[in-house]
Symmetry: D2
């Protein structure tokens, strides 16, 4: 059975806004918007730690894969908390796992992943994740939950 | 000369987020995004005061005119404060004036307006602004600044 | 090895626009935008065949899972073609597989999936896919490619 | 009385898409989306004529003012035509007037304006509109309609 994702299973928690236009014709947050929450959480975390300078970092993360499973709706003006952890840290790539918690909910309304490959800004060829970023990403790892015996 | 708009010239102040994808190819918040900030500020203010229930209010505000002048750029992850006041309150329509303040700035990076006409949800014909909304909007009026003699 | 996805592997092809603001700070289509292309392709296909009336269909599709792998960038004003096929058709759910082809490219710049669960509009409980929709979705199935011996 | 705007009153006509997520909770195109149509029409026209190279043009247009009046709704999957003309051409600035025509409608569903100031890409200081762009913009001027006597 799938692990139920709760806030404690994520290393960082970032509170974000919803916008009026995020609601679609069915009156709930459109499925696309969740990816903007993921994208925003990851990049804000990097920028606020000075690990990404959008205009001039030599190595930048390009997105090569994303995904999301939607369990329950959100509606503007809900305020989601995005939970964030690192699930895999390779030479050039990092896989984030993220979850969206509606307002004060402890169980996730949506769960997703987001994979960055680091490339040289000019050549756009893969490059090792810079050590300062690698160290910071290491703090986002979480222990894998053990099955109850 | 144009009045310089500062925070004190607005009746309400709503702090909002920017998103990674708000930045356009020139590395700054795209001009379109400001209107989403306006839209979000107005509707959040109404919803949080229970003056708008998106799914079932009998009278809803439709947008008939908007505008914005851009003075200085914002860049993700800046956090804008949206200032909001009511400049005109008619039988069926209300004109909001709004401003965007970058992070802790006291002078506006952008100024705009946003006009709602209230309509019956079903017929979409103009209808008087309901009294509870009218009363609340009245609290958003600001004194017109007097010219220095 | 992963099957290379080409136009011929999709049952429907829908040409869409990009928008100036789709480009992000790195000068390419933001990863989030691809999901709006998927969402738009699926719903436009349904609406144009009168299989979805947004305001009053009794059964509507809610999105429960999406994903995308990004192979190569697009840049505004590229015009993407979205390829669309049905990979799984259950009692209440349908899994679409989609691909984005840049301008006249024959190989996919991105590949994704999009799962709708049909629910009753009012109760939001799962409901069987209506027969007219099921029949139409059946035309989007594609033969599974056989491995070369 | 306001001039009724029709297709013939615009020098260029650009057909664009709507997207599923453009519809907001009231089931119509959100007011914000119109500005993305304006932005897209102007920039696409410039890029397709090689008058703007997003990554390296020395002079770029920054948006200093926009506005829109909304007359009638659009709904996804409507396909709008954006009409475009130049109303004022200064040393460094150009004022576009734009209109949105729903599907085959001849009268505008929305009318707006969009003002670019040309700046040096690096210094972001105003610079004269380059001659090749000025010449092209001149072709977007329209005769001012004369009042019927």
């Amino acid at each position: 059975m799938a692990q139920v994702e709760t806030r404690a299973r994520y290393a960082q928690h970032i509170i974000l806004d919803t916008r009026w236009m995020d609601n679609d014709a069915y009156g709930h947050l459109n499925n696309v918007v969740y990816y903007s929450l993921f994208d925003t959480a990851v990049n804000r975390w990097l920028i606020e730690r000075d690990l990404l300078r959008v205009a001039d970092s030599a190595a930048i993360g390009l997105v090569v894969e994303t995904g999301c499973r939607y369990h329950a709706p959100l509606t503007f003006p809900d305020r989601p908390t995005v939970g964030m952890r690192v699930a895999h840290l390779g030479t050039s790539s990092v896989r984030y796992e993220l979850a969206v918690f509606r307002n004060d909910d402890d169980t996730a309304s949506a769960e997703g992943h987001f994979v960055h490959v680091y490339v040289d800004r000019e050549s756009r060829r893969p490059t090792p994740i810079p050590p300062s970023i690698r160290d910071a990403l290491g703090t986002l790892r979480m222990p894998v939950p053990q099955p109850v015996p």
